[in-house]
């Protein structure tokens, strides 16, 4: 499966706006995070377990267990601070 990964705010500054990721099916948002953590020290730092981080799958807030599909867009970003 080919996925689009997007980053925002402080994570975007560290890792760039977006990248693509190939991952075997089936996979979840949590699996995607693990693959990215393994891809570079910068990813490992930004996406580390235990760090305050929010995730979205196809523009909806998502948890680790959410299954991804071919073409899915998975986004990682810090806690939100609008308003």
């Amino acid at each position: 499966m080919k996925l689009t990964i997007r980053y925002f705010a402080s994570i975007r500054e560290a890792l760039g706006s977006s990248e693509t990721l190939e991952i075997g099916a089936p996979a979840t948002v949590g699996d995607v995070r693990e693959r990215l953590i393994a891809s570079s020290p910068a990813h490992a730092e930004q996406l580390a377990r235990g760090k305050a981080l929010r995730m979205a799958l196809d523009q909806e807030l998502a948890e680790d267990s959410a299954p991804v599909r071919d073409g899915s867009v998975v986004a990682f970003f810090p806690p939100v601070t609008g308003g």
Partner: protein, 160 residues
């Protein structure tokens, strides 16, 4: 008129409230909230980033929930993005209802929801440099009063 606008331009509170008031003869109450950039703490500029598409979708679904919970007649949310200066307007939430109680509650609910679930991020410029604003646990607690777990500043599961 759209219910949600994410824009760099400023907005006119009077025009937005007038539109809500005039649109519906059953409206007996309009409550609005405007969030602004504080002129304190040495902040010279604030930059707002968002996730285009997701932001609008998230706020639309919050409005659906607010309308359902409080039987609102209508709602309007405008959130600015890009570079803002101290004392500028950041966000407008305005809601209409038949009676004031629902409008007061619906406006506060929408604002509490938006603070912790809409994908916006603030970066402040100060004499020491630029820094990303930290999420506040108090904002998670504000949403929890409505029976919704925010899972933002405190981590954990997203609101549903």
């Amino acid at each position: 008129m759209p219910r949600v606008s994410v824009q760099s331009e400023d907005f006119d509170l009077s025009a937005e409230v007038e539109a809500l008031r005039r649109a519906d003869g059953d409206v007996g109450a309009v409550v609005s909230f405007v969030g602004t950039v504080r002129d304190s703490g040495g902040v010279s500029e604030m930059e707002l980033e968002h996730y285009p598409g997701m932001t609008e979708r998230a706020i639309e679904s919050m409005i659906d929930e607010a309308v359902r919970r409080f039987e609102l007649r209508a709602a309007r949310v405008i959130h600015r993005v890009g570079k803002l200066r101290p004392l500028e307007q950041i966000v407008l939430v305005a809601v209409s209802s038949r009676h004031r109680g629902a409008a007061f509650q619906g406006c506060e609910f929408l604002m509490d929801y938006l603070k912790t679930q809409a994908p916006f991020w603030k970066k402040e410029t100060t004499p020491e440099g630029a820094r990303w604003v930290d999420a506040r646990v108090a904002d998670d607690e504000a949403l929890s009063r409505w029976g919704i777990a925010a899972g933002n500043a405190g981590g954990g599961k997203p609101a549903r």
